[in-house]
């Protein structure tokens, strides 16, 4: 026997009570794991952002357009290595329920800039640049709809329409691309800006945003300020920031995910803290005589304190670790169905480590007061010998 056996036997002397506490902790950590995986997935764009990339959008709101003429003016700005532009298409396939993430882009410059994120075979790259109605589709989207190179696809927009009244653009799939980084989503379609722009009925010669690479990340701030100053007091003032900040702001449209996670997990934790803490206080009161016996045998107050804390930490681990396992299973199950919205959803090492840290904190927090009570308990009082 050792202290661990003593702790384990104490914890499970009332099996039903122990199991109920473990289940409640398990649920809390399952919620934590799933929500943390969501939160991470929503913010994954910040991880893939390149240090030297800036994004220029309309100062009013990034849904407002910019003139295409800005593309050449920004390209000529000192410190800018290369520029591309893109438009949000607001697409769907056949039925508005089949949402598509579609961007109308300048093929050559866009592919050059995103080459660090995506794997595109050279012949497909060339075909996309060459074919005016060509489209590149990410692996995930192609797999979802069963598309292959050579297929002709009608893509519709819930924002734009053509001059002939149709809101559908026919594109030919000229390539399917993969990803270089696990966090990059491939549930995306790219088609030519020129094709999109010539047919649309409004907003002609405008673009959604510019993506520019600087010659060095150290001049990012200087370039951003310079670009915005160039268009100050114009009809289309700009706001330039790093790609990371842009991605963060994009996600923030959906609400502060981190805050939601913190509030939900915090509420669950505080509830459990109170339940487990109160139960452990009762346990220590019930075991006052046994604690007195241990001290009589020569167990020091510090050792008794460790035994009580060990019990609550073990309780937290026994509930928390299976809770994270449940969260991993749920995340895996949700991953396929949510791949369109949160492609990087996964219970990664940092979430598991954070979870283990929370378990330790929960164990210590719930055990602290009962452990102090046990530590302070006088033998004579505990044994009714005073």
């Amino acid at each position: 026997m050792n202290d661990f056996v003593l702790i384990r036997k104490n914890l499970f002397r009332r099996k039903l009570r122990a199991i109920l506490m473990i289940v409640s902790i398990l649920i809390a950590f399952a919620i934590f794991g799933v929500l943390a995986a969501f939160e991470r997935a929503f913010n994954v764009g910040q991880e893939v952002a390149e240090a030297d990339r800036l994004v220029t959008v309309n100062k009013v709101n990034f849904t407002q357009p910019l003139p295409i003429a800005y593309f050449d003016r920004v390209r000529a700005f000192p410190g800018v290595r290369e520029v591309t532009h893109a438009n949000w298409f607001g697409g769907y396939y056949q039925d508005p329920k089949n949402n598509l993430i579609v961007f109308a882009v300048d093929p050559e410059t866009y592919l050059h800039i995103i080459s660090t994120d995506m794997v595109i075979p050279p012949e497909m790259r060339q075909a996309f640049i060459r074919e005016r109605t060509g489209a590149l589709v990410g692996e995930s989207m192609a797999s979802k709809f069963g598309w292959k190179v050579g297929d002709h696809i009608p893509i519709s927009s819930n924002i734009f329409s053509q001059k002939n009244g149709s809101n559908t653009w026919d594109v030919a799939i000229v390539g399917i691309f993969g990803k270089r980084k696990p966090q990059v989503g491939t549930n995306v379609m790219l088609f030519q800006y020129a094709y999109f722009n010539e047919a649309r009925s409004f907003g002609k010669d405008t673009i959604g945003w510019l993506v520019l690479c600087t010659t060095s990340p150290s001049i990012n701030d200087q370039v951003a300020k310079g670009v915005d100053a160039m268009f100050a007091n114009s009809s289309y003032e700009t706001s330039t920031d790093t790609e990371k900040a842009f991605n963060k702001a994009f996600v923030a449209q959906l609400g502060d995910i981190a805050l939601i996670v913190t509030l939900v997990v915090g509420a669950a934790f505080i509830t459990i803290l109170m339940i487990v803490g109160n139960t452990m206080m009762m346990v220590v009161r019930e075991r006052a005589r046994e604690i007195g016996v241990l001290k009589t045998l020569g167990f020091s107050s510090a050792r008794v304190l460790h035994l009580v804390l060990g019990e609550t930490v073990l309780l937290a681990l026994l509930g928390g670790i299976p809770g994270l396992a449940v969260a991993a299973a749920v995340t895996l199950a949700l991953r396929r169905s949510l791949v369109e919205f949160v492609p990087g959803m996964a219970l990664n090492v940092s979430i598991v480590l954070a979870g283990l840290g929370f378990m330790l904190m929960l164990g210590l927090a719930t055990g602290l007061l009962p452990a102090i009570n046990a530590w302070r308990l006088k033998i004579a009082v505990a044994m009714g010998r005073g």
Partner: protein
């Protein structure tokens, strides 16, 4: 030169505060118990019997005076020093056994050995020996709820002696047992005293139990009255 006593109290005073009143239990009490003695302490309720055991066991502190046990003065020790003193020098036997209900007999006996540096095999050997002394080797894997009161008290005695303490403090060890079982327990204590040389201080209300001891100290109003028991 006579051997110094195992237990020596010199000028001990002890009182309790109850409301605004201080109730004196002992005033300037002296006591000497030689090593190998088996002493029964009797007296009316409130006479200070349990307080005496608490002082000898380092469970309570004196207000004044000295408490020496096994050549060590314990009245000025800190809580952690007293814990070490108890672990190394004193074995306790209580009226209501006070075994851990979730541990087997062997695990209960092993508890004090968790405070030593003994290895697993050595601990097992000590536990087996202690259980053999109290004739419960065959009950090692039984839980307290699976044993009679007498068997539980014998497990408690095995726990008290497993770390080979010099002094055994017994607080009404037969108070919860029938006569026959009580005699078995007292015989075991007698053997521990006579054959293993344990010094025993036993508090009891039972004159029959006191007859197993070598001498009886009558405690009344905080003073000892010593007399030999009739055969």
């Amino acid at each position: 030169m006579p051997e110094s006593p195992l237990v020596r109290l010199v000028g001990v005073s002890k009182g309790f505060v109850k409301g605004r009143e201080t109730i004196s239990v002992f005033h300037d009490l002296d006591l000497a118990i030689p090593a190998g003695d088996f002493v029964a302490v009797m007296g009316p309720s409130g006479s200070g019997k349990t307080t005496l055991l608490n002082l000898l066991g380092g469970i309570d502190h004196v207000d004044a005076g000295e408490v020496n046990v096994a050549g060590q003065r314990i009245d000025g020790l800190t809580e952690s020093e007293l814990a070490r003193y108890r672990a190394g020098n004193v074995g306790f036997v209580f009226q209501f056994y006070n075994l851990m209900p979730m541990l087997t007999a062997a695990q209960n006996v092993e508890l004090p050995l968790l405070l030593t540096k003994l290895g697993k095999a050595q601990r097992r050997s000590h536990v087996e020996t202690a259980l053999k002394i109290v004739a419960l080797a065959d009950r090692a894997t039984h839980y307290p709820r699976e044993m009679s009161g007498g068997q539980q008290q014998r497990v408690a005695i095995a726990r008290a002696i497993v770390s080979d303490p010099k002094l055994l403090l017994c607080d009404e060890p037969t108070g919860d047992l029938d006569r026959a079982t009580a005699d078995e327990i007292l015989s075991t204590l007698k053997v521990l005293n006579s054959e293993l040389g344990k010094t025993i201080v036993m508090v009891t209300h039972d004159p029959a139990a006191a007859r197993f001891a070598g001498r009886t100290l009558h405690l009344d109003k905080g003073c000892f009255v010593e007399k030999e028991l009739a055969a």
